[in-house]
């Protein structure tokens, strides 16, 4: 500690360490407060006067916007639910059941999609979902359908795209929390006569709550603001939160209204996530016996 201090005093590192804080304040906190301010300021071009008003928020108080929030919340919740159900057994298998030799290879195979351009992941679904795509081809060959299904530009396509693109975001945190689990605990639980499901319910899941939480947040937050997948796989037909923000900022260039909408959606997100966490804590009991 003493050396560290001496080390730092010599190098005048106070100044340079502060650069990160300044950067963060200038380009993160300032723009965010700017966004909040803009949403409350009304500018009248006729008189050239700006004044404080709730007009943009009042304008957004319409059922249409409510439906958009509901749609995004639903899509993001479904994505969390489905990716969690797919990913949990996979992460469990990889962390606890696979020999070390295969573990690294399989883990590398999990990171690869995570490190692949998001747009390319979305694009790969074109080849499955188009009228001449793989899904229709297989279904036609099997004789399940007689004419190609229309799969692109549907809500189903958006959902599948979301499940696919966000699966790696769920897998990695689950894997790293399951990997820390002591296998001896599972043996002890089995020795004491617990069935697999009892062990899962009472040992494995409580000890990996932090991983589940991280994964759920990593999926839910970007999925809520998603705009690329609805635009590409949904054909821009249905509006999601991300599409509305893009529309206001880039298409119609109504910055104050866009700011108001962005602020409301951030609020909706925070409230929803907090409530969900509270509900889960209430339903499943306190999750503190893990930590």
């Amino acid at each position: 500690m003493k050396t560290k201090k001496a080390f730092a005093q010599k190098e005048n590192s106070f100044f340079w360490g502060v650069v990160a804080l300044v950067w963060q304040a200038l380009f993160f906190y300032l723009p965010l407060s700017f966004l909040l301010t803009t949403s409350f300021v009304k500018y009248l071009s006729s008189t050239g006067v700006s004044y404080f008003s709730f007009d943009y928020y009042l304008y957004l108080f319409q059922p249409v916007y409510g439906f958009i929030f509901m749609r995004s919340l639903l899509a993001a919740s479904c994505t969390v639910f489905v990716t969690l159900s797919i990913a949990y057994p996979v992460a469990y298998y990889l962390a606890l059941k696979v020999s070390d030799r295969w573990k690294n290879t399989l883990f590398a195979l999990l990171i690869l999609p995570f490190w692949t351009n998001f747009l390319l992941l979305v694009y790969s679904w074109y080849f499955l979902l188009e009228n001449d795509g793989l899904v229709n081809m297989i279904f036609l060959k099997l004789g399940l359908i007689s004419s190609p299904l229309h799969l692109m530009n549907t809500t189903g396509a958006i959902y599948f795209g979301m499940f696919y693109c966000y699966l790696p975001f769920m897998l990695l945190p689950l894997y790293s929390s399951l990997e820390k689990l002591d296998p001896r605990l599972l043996e002890a639980s089995a020795d004491l006569g617990a069935s697999f499901w009892q062990t899962l319910r009472n040992i494995i899941i409580p000890l990996t709550t932090s991983g589940i939480k991280t994964g759920a947040l990593l999926v839910f937050v970007p999925a809520f603001g998603e705009f690329v997948i609805p635009a590409l796989l949904g054909g821009d037909r249905t509006m999601y939160v991300g599409s509305v923000i893009t529309h206001y900022f880039l298409t119609v260039r109504n910055v104050p209204l866009g700011s108001a909408f962005t602020c409301i959606s951030a609020l909706v997100l925070v409230v929803f996530v907090t409530v969900i966490f509270k509900v889960f804590r209430f339903v499943f009991g306190r999750d503190s016996y893990g930590s």
């Binding site: 340079w16 390319l120 696919y164 697999f196």
Partner: protein, 261 residues
């Protein structure tokens, strides 16, 4: 009883896992396969050809976009590593770590929210949108990752080693370059790779903050696939997947447990 359930489990789980891997990789395989297809439409396999790769490497637009992406990525990596390292070292000699929480929102606030914030901020102050604004945005994103990773590594660093180095007559500068930096190197490389990948992958910040003039690879891909399928994008995807593959192998061989997820 318990035995029976475990054997049932042992059969079900590998199937589930292979299905999940199939789900992850099938679309990518189809994507790669069609980059070698001779014809464009419809999506039937006709024959093998390098045609789309030739077209890809002949296109100056793609090269320009790739160059821009590399430039922005490298600048964001260097900036976020240098700023992040300086901050972590400064933070280490302070009494508490509460300043670290100052950077958590970069990971928690939805990207689209701070992106539009950044956009209206730049527009208000008449900052011309371009590669520079993009670098600012990506560095911000990068700081959210580099600071936790570097902090995790720095806090495990044995202070006695620094003391020993200073006692043995090394200057502060020598101690930094010959002792501290080599110890932090795996974390620096891992964080740098992560930021580079994030920057290369980022579409949202580029879409809002790059303006009309600066084209990056994701922006190019978006404008190409918005109108439909183009095998040149498949060829590009194959090339990018191979690069990501190499980077993943590099990252995994580093064995740094990034504390971000």
């Amino acid at each position: 009883m318990a035995r029976k359930q475990f054997s049932y489990q042992s059969l079900l789980l590998p199937i589930w896992v292979s299905m999940a891997y199939l789900f992850l990789y099938l679309p990518l395989f189809v994507l790669i396969a069609f980059s070698f297809n001779k014809v464009e439409f419809p999506y039937r396999w006709v024959g093998f050809s390098w045609r789309w790769y030739q077209e890809l490497f002949a296109s100056t637009e793609i090269w320009q976009a790739a160059w821009n992406s590399l430039l922005v990525g490298s600048c964001a990596v260097i900036l976020s590593l240098v700023i992040g390292l300086l901050f972590v070292m400064w933070n280490a000699q302070r009494k508490s770590d509460y300043l670290l929480t100052y950077f958590y929102p970069n990971l928690i606030v939805p990207e689209i929210v701070f992106t539009v914030g950044l956009l209206s901020f730049f527009v208000f102050f008449n900052v011309p949108l371009g590669l520079l604004t993009l670098i600012v945005g990506h560095t911000l994103l990068g700081l959210g990752y580099t600071i936790p990773i570097l902090h995790a590594r720095f806090s495990t660093l044995d202070r006695n080693i620094i003391e020993a180095s200073l006692d043995l007559g090394a200057t502060y500068r020598q101690t930094f370059y010959k002792v501290v930096l080599p110890i932090l190197m795996p974390a620096l490389v891992a964080a740098g790779l992560l930021v580079f990948i994030l920057s290369l992958d980022d579409f949202l910040i580029a879409f809002f903050c790059a303006g009309a003039s600066a084209q990056t690879l994701p922006l190019f891909i978006f404008s190409m696939i918005r109108t439909g399928v183009s095998p040149v994008v498949n060829a590009l995807a194959t090339v990018m997947l191979s690069i990501s593959g190499i980077l993943v192998i590099a990252f995994c061989s580093l064995r740094v447990r990034a504390r971000v997820w």
